[in-house]
């Protein structure tokens, strides 16, 4: 009897072993769990902190003791370039001279990088680390993963502080403390409309820079060439809690808070008065806009099956549509120009950013590319000094970003030129070969050939952005919602959006007024009020904290 029980237990154990053995390693759930663990279980190196505090005198800009050599590990994302060691040797030669320190670049590779990033921080084996909002910078910083930099920036790296500027550093604050140093290259990822300039000129149509002109442009093409497809919009770019259907992104021409900008749950706040939150889904404007959408759908701007279609990212490239309104950015426009040139059919692509019409435009958030010092670092002050050298020292910055001049790259007319690529070889150290997007210095960054057009666009946006209330500050992307207390309501709201908002925005309903009423009722049932209340509270607190008033 005893034996039977034992063998039953053992066989269960074996089955369990097989199941966990197979599933445990790479599945998503394990990764999630790890992330949660990684965030919570970061051991705080108390002793380390105390000693640095004790050593740091209160005085301004002190001289660091550089007599001891420090070997630092710099953890970055992506794959290593082939000439990693060669460039590292050149870099360390300079760093030894200036900071008596060396840097060993370590790469996450793109496999399981999120999990490995969490491991790296938990293990505290790196000293300097790449940070970004898509790598949960805010969460990690508030759980104590990084060293506080406020004081050290003054004492150790005043040049760095001056270069980056208070506005940028302010955006990297978490709970009032600075934990990261952002790059200083303002990058605009502003959404807009990509359209066919050649067709617009051919049929003498208006530039689609407003809802009316976009409609006129599309109608004009439809009249002149009925067989031409107009928009290939789907629900795929609208998976968040802002819009349900991609065509609704065009409403950005009318309001400055649609789609990627602005707030969730059908809430709205003007860029000039961010803490003044008001309602959109229950307003008359919403009904009017949905009627516009219905008119567009009836005109046949998009397919009747748009709601179930999958996104064809090559549609524009192959001439299947004449404009794209969702998920676009200047970089994609540059790609489209190159694609059309390659196709050689005389097609031309042009771009109108929504911000050019609605007046609100800003670069990417500072936490999009930054560097932090991992808590438990061997020598945080030296690490910061090295970081300062890598960003502010032109010579060192050039080695990190472009490799060795004459071997890997050269500069002609102020433009970066990869020597191996020109010779038809695979580059052993490509542009930004260490993937150090966090070490871009806006003042000295060498443009690549394709960057010239991009930079022209950026300059235009920078002028516009300077005129806004918060000049060239992205006030939205620093906010992260904590929905623990209403996650059930949140997912119910998300479902109602997919089911009722998407067909409304796609104009695929018979009676707009009735459909709007139904959508509003369903939203109430799903618990929209609770979501809105909590979300607004968090948003206003965020605006207060960062002084966006």
């Amino acid at each position: 009897m005893k034996k039977k029980v034992l063998s039953a237990l053992l066989s269960m154990a074996m089955v369990a072993g097989v199941i966990t053995g197979c599933g445990g390693q790479a599945t998503q759930s394990a990764a999630d769990q790890l992330e949660a663990e990684g965030v919570e279980e970061i051991p705080v190196a108390e002793t380390q902190e105390e000693t640095t505090e004790a050593e740091a005198p209160a005085a301004e800009a002190k001289e660091l003791d550089l007599s001891q050599q420090v070997d630092l590990v710099f953890y970055v994302m992506g794959d290593a370039p082939q000439d990693e060691e060669l460039v590292e040797a050149a870099l360390n030669e300079k760093l030894l001279e200036k900071c008596n320190a060396t840097v060993d670049m370590q790469f996450s590779t793109w496999t399981d990088f999120q999990q490995k990033y969490a491991n790296e921080i938990t293990a505290q084996s790196a000293d300097l680390i790449y940070i970004a909002n898509w790598l949960n910078y805010g969460q990690l910083a508030s759980s104590g993963a990084f060293e506080e930099l406020d004081e050290m920036l003054d004492t150790v790296a005043p040049d760095l502080k001056a270069l980056v500027g208070d506005a940028n550093l302010n955006m990297c604050k978490v709970g009032g403390k600075i934990y990261a140093v952002p790059n200083t290259w303002a990058e605009y990822v502003c959404n807009g409309v990509k359209y066919r300039e050649d067709l617009r000129a051919k049929y003498d149509l208006p530039v689609p820079d407003s809802l009316e002109n976009l409609e006129a442009y599309l109608l004009g093409i439809k009249e002149n060439d009925p067989s031409q497809g107009l928009l290939t919009v789907t629900t795929e770019e609208s998976q968040g809690l802002k819009t349900g259907f991609d065509a609704a992104w065009a409403l950005n021409f009318k309001y400055n808070w649609v789609a990627n900008n602005g707030l969730d749950y059908g809430l709205a706040a003007n860029y000039d008065t961010p803490s003044d939150v008001y309602d959109y889904w229950y307003s008359d404007d919403f009904v009017d806009d949905m009627k516009t959408m219905k008119r567009w759908a009836d005109e046949g701007f998009w397919s009747k099956s748009a709601l179930s279609d999958t996104n064809n990212s090559d549609a524009y490239k192959n001439g299947l549509c004449v404009a794209e309104v969702a998920g676009q950015n200047p970089n994609k426009q540059i790609t489209a120009i190159a694609d059309f040139e390659n196709a050689g059919q005389g097609w031309e692509s042009a771009y109108v950013a929504y911000g050019e019409t609605n007046g609100v435009i800003y670069p990417g958030h500072a936490t999009q590319n930054g560097t932090a010092i991992v808590r438990g670092c061997k020598d945080p002050e030296r690490a910061l000094l090295v970081l300062q050298a890598m960003l502010c020292d032109d010579e060192i910055n050039a080695i990190v970003q472009y490799g060795i001049k004459g071997t890997h790259y050269d500069v002609a007319d102020g433009i970066y030129k990869n020597l191996q690529e020109e010779a038809g070889e695979t580059p052993t150290f490509p542009y930004e070969g260490f993937n150090t997007w966090n070490l871009r210095n806006g003042e000295t960054k060498l443009p690549q050939k394709t960057d010239v057009k991009l930079q022209e666009m950026f300059d235009k946006y920078a002028d516009l952005g300077a005129k806004t209330k918060f000049p060239n500050v992205n006030i939205y992307d620093g906010f992260s919602e904590n929905y623990d207390s209403y996650s059930a309501e949140r997912s119910a709201v998300s479902n109602v959006m997919r089911q009722y908002l998407a067909p409304l925005e796609a104009g695929l309903v018979d009676d707009v007024d009735a459909a709007v009423e139904e959508f509003r009722d369903k939203m109430k049932e799903a618990g929209i009020d609770k979501c809105r209340e909590e979300y607004t509270k968090q948003w206003i607190a965020y605006c207060e904290e960062y002084d966006y008033k």
Partner: protein, 308 residues
């Protein structure tokens, strides 16, 4: 020696098969043929796809024979043969070292916990089984190797963690218990053999099927693993083959995804046919290896130490 005593199942040819047997064989053969077709078909499609022009795959779909025969996918993969050959070399090294050492350790452990005279065998067995149910989790596992043992970046970290697994130890113990009856070891003991003699001269020779099975499991595990490279490698020259290929795919998808938010150059995505060619390159050697090990499975059934 054992061969002479073998009875082939179909040996008595003079005896006529009954109708029942014939029906049974007909059904069995049909099912087995269907089964093997189901197993082989996808692989044929993969191989044929890897030799097909990518545009043809996209427009006309997959076929059993390549429609537009081309070697371009393989040319893409072997464009920089140095990297892929290095990855092959490392995988071979990990597989050979890992399987060899692992097999030795598993067999020795299996022998010890199968001995009745070992008083604490149940406790030890339990401790081994226990780890298959309760593990420390990802983070402690990682910290153990990276921080405590300091193996990050070394090749040891790639083959060492997988040397033994509870499942294989149990399997080996069962094999030993089944293949070596107590009577044999007892008689050897009476003749004055110690544990080493018993293990090497009595147990090991009859354990071939067990060694083949466990060895194959180990070797396949090492050959197919990419995870430990991903976790512990700091230099691409220590990468396993599977990780090299897997990362090639991941890098391009990640780049493409990120390009919508960040200014960066996007590499060309590997095409369908390149992905298929990768699958062929990675699984090819295992396919060749299998038939050679397989005969041990078959012969193992009829080989035994106690006859008649």
């Amino acid at each position: 020696m054992a061969r002479d005593l073998d009875y082939e199942p179909s040996a008595p040819k003079t005896i006529k098969k009954s109708t029942g047997t014939k029906v049974f064989e007909a059904i069995a053969y049909t099912l087995l043929i269907l089964g093997s077709i189901i197993c082989v078909l996808p692989f044929i499609i993969i191989v044929s796809g890897s030799f097909t022009d990518n545009a043809t795959i996209l427009t006309q779909g997959y076929s059993l024979l390549p429609r537009d025969f081309t070697l371009s996918a393989y040319q893409t993969i072997f464009k920089s043969p140095k990297d892929i050959l290095q990855a092959y070399k490392m995988t071979l090294y990990y597989t050979v070292v890992g399987t060899g050492l692992g097999l030795m350790m598993i067999t020795l452990t299996g022998y010890v916990i199968s001995r009745k005279e070992f008083k604490y065998r149940n406790t030890v067995s339990f401790l081994i089984y226990f780890t298959s149910i309760f593990g420390g989790g990802m983070i402690p596992w990682y910290l153990m190797y990276a921080n405590v043992l300091g193996l990050k970046g070394s090749t040891l970290a790639i083959w060492f963690p997988a040397l033994m697994s509870p499942f294989l130890v149990i399997l080996m113990r069962t094999f030993i218990v089944g293949a070596v009856p107590d009577a044999i070891t007892e008689s050897a003991k009476i003749d004055g053999a110690g544990h080493f003699t018993i293990f090497f001269r009595i147990v090991l020779p009859v354990l071939k099927p067990g060694l083949a099975t466990v060895g194959l499991f180990l070797a396949l595990g090492y050959w197919n693993d990419w995870y430990r490279s991903s976790m512990f490698s700091t230099n691409s020259s220590t990468w396993q083959l599977q990780f090299y290929l897997y990362d090639l795919l991941n890098a391009t998808t990640a780049m493409k995804q990120m390009a919508s938010n960040v200014s960066m150059k996007t590499a060309d995505l590997p095409t369908e046919s390149v992905k298929l060619a990768m699958a062929v390159v990675a699984t090819g050697p295992v396919l060749l290896f299998y038939p050679f090990v397989q005969r041990f499975f078959v012969s193992g059934i009829t080989v035994g130490a106690v006859k008649g």
